[in-house]
């Protein structure tokens, strides 16, 4: 019997939490994975105040409220997706989530990224930001107010030409194994003058051929595969130059600064987030699981 993958959803009873749940549900449905809806509470701890305020009374009530929030979250999950709920205590939310990933042997972490951003785009909240620089498994970021379609139909994989893109492709291959879904490999090219454009684009196109060959050798899945080069005066413009379907997600690798088996959001990926209208999955430097 093969192992059923599971995804940790970083839940809280806020719009961001519901964004994460929405994305988690869409990804779980696509890959027949299960959801582990996790709500992290911070230990109240001893408060240095003159008023005797043990944490126990409050923690009991907080836990009760949290169970209610989790029950409400479970009710939001459609019946074709299996989900369990987990209430965790930790010093910080991101620590609790990383611990949950380890204890629940989860394959990825889904988090609502937005915090007070504008125009439905990404502004990374503190929890998401902490995860993006420490998580041992891929982190999926849901944009603000995310609404998944019935089924995800395409995955866009954004690649750089530097070393390390194989890790991203391996992770993608693991994710899409046995699935029928369209794939699009893109490179983003920054151009500031017209005459530089052709050589840079040509280099990228050549790189994409290498990528395609690598992918076809390693991946087993169905669907239309396309390649595309996004160009613009900056990363944001290059992202905007591409067309994005409402029911697709994007994959991106970690920065070369990442420790092995950890993710670390690179500068380019960070700038992509400013313009990206779809969820982004950030993959660790070397895959945490094969």
């Amino acid at each position: 019997m093969t192992r059923v993958p599971n995804y940790v959803v970083a839940y809280e009873a806020t719009p961001q939490g519901r964004d994460a749940l929405e994305l988690g549900t869409a990804m779980a449905r696509l890959t027949r994975a299960e959801l582990r809806i996790c709500l992290v509470l911070q230990r109240a701890g001893g408060v240095p105040a003159k008023i005797y305020a043990t944490s126990s009374d409050f923690e009991a009530l907080l836990a009760k409220q949290a169970e209610q929030w989790l029950a409400d979250a479970l009710a939001l999950v459609p019946t074709d997706v299996t989900a369990t709920t987990h209430l965790l205590w930790a010093d910080s939310t991101s620590e609790g989530l990383i611990q949950a990933v380890a204890d629940l042997e989860s394959d990825r972490l889904v988090v609502g990224a937005a915090r007070g951003g504008i125009l439905n785009r990404f502004t990374i909240g503190s929890v998401a930001n902490a995860l993006l620089h420490a998580s041992p498994v891929p982190v999926a970021l849901a944009p603000r107010g995310y609404k998944a379609g019935v089924q995800l139909t395409r995955i866009t994989c954004a690649l750089g030409t530097r070393t390390g893109w194989e890790a991203l492709l391996d992770s993608l291959a693991a994710f899409t194994e046995g699935l029928t879904i369209d794939l699009r490999f893109v490179t983003l090219v920054e151009v500031d003058a017209a005459h530089e454009k052709h050589s840079a684009v040509a280099d990228s196109a050549a790189h994409l051929d290498t990528v395609l060959t690598y992918h076809q050798r390693h991946a087993r899945g169905g669907g239309v595969i396309t390649t595309e080069v996004g160009t613009g005066t900056g990363v944001e413009a290059a992202v905007e130059a591409l067309d994005w379907r409402p029911d697709e997600i994007a994959f991106v690798g970690s920065s070369r600064l990442a420790a092995p088996n950890r993710i670390f959001l690179g500068v380019t990926a960070h700038r992509m987030l400013h313009a990206l209208p779809v969820p982004l999955v950030v993959v660790p430097a070397t895959p945490a699981r094969s």
Partner: protein, 522 residues
């Protein structure tokens, strides 16, 4: 498809509900990745930062001298006794009912809803009063520090302007309230630095004051006398009672160390040792500071005399300059940081109590609201801030010395809710107090004695406070402001309780939190 809800933690359930079956999943630790992380030094630091000695001393030295004169060091020593006795009972209650955490839940379980409600009310009122005092001290020292920083004494006088004062206080309270609402806590390192800084500055102050005495440059040098340590030389029993009431305020917060079990590395020994170490440090510090202040300033009513009503509410503000010279700004910084940090952390207690009261329907349900984003008692925190500021604003207008009067009112309120808790302990354990010597001492004798002392102090100070000369001398219709304040606060509590009873009787019928005793079959 199968769907299951697996609570991965076995969090404590409130006393009124049966425990849920613990179905842990995946070996996730229940409460606390950091459980057992605090050692002896850590608990001691927490204990000292609870007490906030720099703030406490500046607020209480004046009123204590006003009450007992040179007997202050002796009063500080005996004043610890009722605190110790009650804290021992607290610890027993905390061990027996780990799910409960406040005077409200304990008193409700022991005595039923009515006294339980008033116990919770006493705690909330005491907090509101101390919040306003903390903010008041912070405001004074903010302007004092600005004056010292820019070498412009005129800036310090801004604190004397009622409207500037009230608005600055609003800024402090709003900031503290916001930080609590966000659920942010000071890190360990910040706590360590604040505590070390307070201790160093207070030591510095004491030594500098003694140096002035030795060099003959003290304001009104008073020869040291061993009699200062004899509390029974206080002018009258009323004076003694007022002094003890104030001493309870100065040790207020110490009991937290005794109840820190879960967090400590060795729950068997660490809390007890830390509590002892904390009180030893605090004892030494208070004795040193009180003796050196008496020797430097005397008890006269001169400019810097401890009998001068103008400086009594905030002693260090007046004395730091003459004693420490150009380094007085360090004292301003120590008191300002100590009171600002305490202001913020003190918001947590009443907010959680109000949350619990809201949950058990002793307060309107809105108080039970928990912010989904910050996981803090949002509504209760905001209400605590609004009420504390409102109280401060009214007091600032009514009283000639708002700090002195709030501290005296506070003494009465602390006596009340500590007393209720002490008696709750005795009553709750009534069936098992004769089962062992330990139980007899800790569950009956200590809390009973402590409660009785507090009850006597409570009644005595309440009666004495009717005198218009009590405290700052502010009065309404020939009756002391402190008495009126205490009565208004208690009556307001009773009225609100009756309204709540009429609107939502569930709590008062014992439907949400049941009365019981230890060894009851539940």
């Amino acid at each position: 498809m199968a769907r299951s809800s697996v609570p991965a933690s076995s969090a404590p359930t409130p006393p009124s509900t049966p425990p849920e079956p613990a179905t842990g999943a995946g070996g996730l630790s229940a409460k606390g990745l950091s459980a057992g992380s605090v050692g002896l030094l850590g608990v001691t630091v927490i204990g000292i930062s609870c007490i906030a000695p720099a703030y406490t001393l500046t607020a209480s030295l004046g009123p204590t001298v006003a009450a007992v004169g040179t007997q202050m060091p002796g009063i500080f020593v005996v004043g610890f006794l009722p605190m110790l006795l009650v804290a021992l009972g607290y610890r027993e209650l905390n061990n027996a009912m780990p799910d409960a955490g406040t005077s409200f839940t304990w008193a409700s379980r022991a005595f039923g809803p009515w006294l339980g409600w008033m116990g919770g009310w006493g705690l909330i009122v005491a907090t509101v009063v101390v919040l306003s005092n903390l903010a008041g001290v912070a405001v004074d020292f903010l302007y004092l520090m600005l004056a010292q920083l820019f070498g412009n004494p005129g800036l310090a006088d801004l604190a004397g302007n009622v409207w500037i004062n009230i608005l600055t206080c609003l800024v402090f309270i709003a900031a503290a309230c916001y930080i609590s609402y966000r659920g942010m806590e000071a890190t360990k390192m910040v706590q360590y630095v604040l505590v070390a800084f307070q201790l160093v500055v207070l030591l510095w102050f004491s030594i500098a004051a003694l140096m002035h005495v030795v060099n003959g440059t003290a304001f009104d040098a008073l020869g040291f006398s061993v009699d200062w340590f004899n509390p029974f030389l206080a002018p009258s029993f009323s004076a003694f009672a007022a002094g003890v009431s104030l001493s309870i305020f100065i040790y207020w917060g110490w009991d937290v160390t005794l109840t820190m079990n879960e967090e400590t590395k060795n729950p068997q020994t660490t809390p007890g040792r830390a509590a002892t170490l904390t009180v030893a440090i605090i004892f030494a510090l208070y004795i040193l500071v009180s003796v050196s202040v008496l020797m430097f300033s005397g008890v006269g009513t001169g400019e810097l005399g401890m009998g001068n009503e103008d400086i009594q509410g905030n002693v260090f503000a007046a004395l730091a300059g003459p004693v420490m010279g150009p380094f007085a700004i360090l004292m301003s910084l120590a008191v300002l940081s100590s009171s600002a940090a305490s202001l913020q952390s003190t918001f947590v207690g009443p907010a959680r109590t109000m949350l619990a009261m809201g949950h058990y329907r002793a307060f309107p349900a809105r108080f039970a609201a928990i912010s989904p984003r910050f996981k803090s008692p949002g509504f209760a925190t905001i209400i605590a801030g609004v009420v504390a500021w409102g109280f401060y604003a009214v007091m600032r207008v009514l009283s000639t010395d708002v700090l002195t009067d709030t501290i005296l009112t506070l003494g009465i309120m602390i006596c009340f809710y500590y007393g209720v808790t002490a008696f709750a302990c005795v009553w709750f354990f009534r069936r098992e107090v004769f089962t062992s010597v330990r139980a007899f001492l800790l569950k009956l004798l200590a809390p009973l004695l402590g409660g009785a002392i507090l009850a006597v102090i409570f009644v005595t100070t309440l009666i004495d406070s009717t005198d218009p000369a009590y405290g700052s001398g502010s009065e309404i219709g020939g009756i002391g402001l402190v008495f009126i304040l205490a009565v208004v606060l208690f009556v307001a509590g009773i009225v609100l309780m009756l309204i709540m009873r009429a609107v939502d009787p569930a709590f008062f019928r014992g439907n949400t939190l049941t009365k019981g005793a230890s060894r009851d079959k539940r």
